[in-house]
């Protein structure tokens, strides 16, 4: 059997798998450099497959909200509002918070936790974090509508302020605190 076709076949299989990984990452909103990295070094990203299991209750809605906003920001008039990498960072932070809520939900699924005073406070903190995430998701939806107004009004400032405000709320959520 000739060697060159075998080399090419093996290389093609490797790159095909990498391409599949890149497409999967694209679907999750990751930027082009990450997708390109996945094509050549996809074994490094195999853990992303297992991390799918570490999701919380808001993962699907977060993905959908960011996807909608990304499509709205693809309009030329909206290009000045924010960069797609900032949106990617916002999504990553939200998914991280969502994963943590998921961890807490699994803990709270144990009935004995509710008999503990600390468990009750954990449940309160979970409810607070969940309400904040809901608020951010509502804000993302309203932001999408505001981007639509840009086409008529042309003033990016209120939209940019709103993006900054949402980013600040998400950063504040990054630590779960009990006072």
């Amino acid at each position: 059997m000739s060697s060159t076709p075998t080399v090419l076949i093996l290389l093609a299989i490797y790159l095909l798998v990498g391409l599949g990984m890149a497409v999967s990452l694209r679907g999750r909103g990751h930027p082009v450099p990450t997708q390109a990295s996945a094509v050549v070094a996809w074994p490094l990203f195999l853990g992303m497959v297992e991390s799918r299991a570490l999701v919380g209750p808001f993962a699907g809605r977060i993905e959908a909200a960011i996807d909608e906003l990304t499509r709205a920001l693809a309009e030329p008039e909206a290009a000045q509002v924010t960069s797609l990498s900032d949106l990617s960072a916002l999504k990553a932070s939200l998914l991280q918070i969502d994963a943590r809520i998921g961890v807490v939900d699994r803990m709270l699924a144990d009935p004995s936790v509710h008999n503990d005073p600390l468990g009750l406070r954990l449940a309160e903190a979970r409810a607070h974090a969940a309400a904040e995430v809901e608020g951010v998701l509502r804000g993302l939806h309203q932001l999408r509508l505001q981007v639509g107004l840009l086409a008529l009004v042309g003033d990016t400032l209120p939209v940019r302020d709103r993006v900054a405000d949402l980013g600040a709320r998400v950063r504040a959520l990054s630590e779960l605190s009990l006072s």
Partner: protein, 237 residues
């Protein structure tokens, strides 16, 4: 986005802290591109210095192949490392291992690039071909050891008989590195040979090592090349 310079300093000063800070399941996709870029740039610079031994097209060829030499073996050996440590009872998440591998590769590449000028200086003294190859291998080893150490240090504690997993990991990395280096040769062209990008697949790295040792002493028996393996073709006698 974390700047490349900041990341470069981080992988040199404390790669373990970098892995600890970003081992959260979400930072890997953001850090992978800059860390891979650092690896490619560092390895390419080192490759340029290696190629300077001969000059001409060897400069470009070595600069292109050296990043592959640094990247491919860890990617091939990563599943082995993961399973070896798991078998020793160390539950290391794939994401953390990947981040540690990226930091380790970047660290080694930057150190190799830093060694480049030393290599250039010694090559400018018209070293013998075999000495030039040994010097290149020694430099890669010198730069690679801190990377491997960083990778092992980034793994979680605990487990049973960790030294067995460490030994197995080192062996897997060494084997992958050796065979990949053999496949990507030549990095340094022989004085009488034409400059080429790749050579045909011949024998394997270990049989070539014994032939090279003999040839360095003037004994050129054993240099009748014979292709083998799935990618090689058996030559007609």
């Amino acid at each position: 986005m974390t700047s490349i310079l900041t990341l470069t300093a981080a992988v040199l000063r404390d790669p373990n802290a970098l892995v600890d800070a970003h081992d959260n399941g979400v930072d890997l996709p953001r850090l992978a591109p800059p860390l891979l870029a650092i690896t490619v740039i560092g390895a390419a610079l080192f490759g340029l210095m290696v190629g300077s031994q001969r000059g001409e097209l060897q400069l470009l060829y070595a600069a292109v192949k050296m990043p592959v030499l640094l990247l491919a073996p860890p990617l091939v050996a990563l599943p082995a490392l993961h399973s070896l440590w798991r078998a020793a009872g160390v539950e290391v998440r794939w994401g953390r291992l990947s981040l540690a591998a990226l930091a380790a590769m970047a660290r080694s590449a930057v150190l190799a690039a830093a060694l480049g000028p030393v290599l250039w200086l010694l090559y400018s003294l018209n070293l013998d071909y075999h000495d030039a190859v040994l010097l290149m291998v020694a430099s890669i080893g010198l730069a690679g050891l801190p990377g491997v150490a960083a990778l092992v240090r980034a793994l979680p504690g605990g487990g049973d008989l960790r030294f067995l997993a460490a030994a197995g990991s080192a062996l897997a990395l060494f084997l992958a590195f050796a065979q990949t280096g053999w496949l990507l040769r030549p990095f340094i062209a022989r004085p009488q040979a034409a400059v080429s990008f790749l050579r045909p697949v011949e024998e394997d790295v270990f049989s070539s090592l014994s032939a090279t040792r003999a040839s360095s002493k003037g004994d050129y028996r054993g240099w009748e090349v014979r292709s083998a393996g799935v990618l090689g073709e058996e030559e007609a006698p």
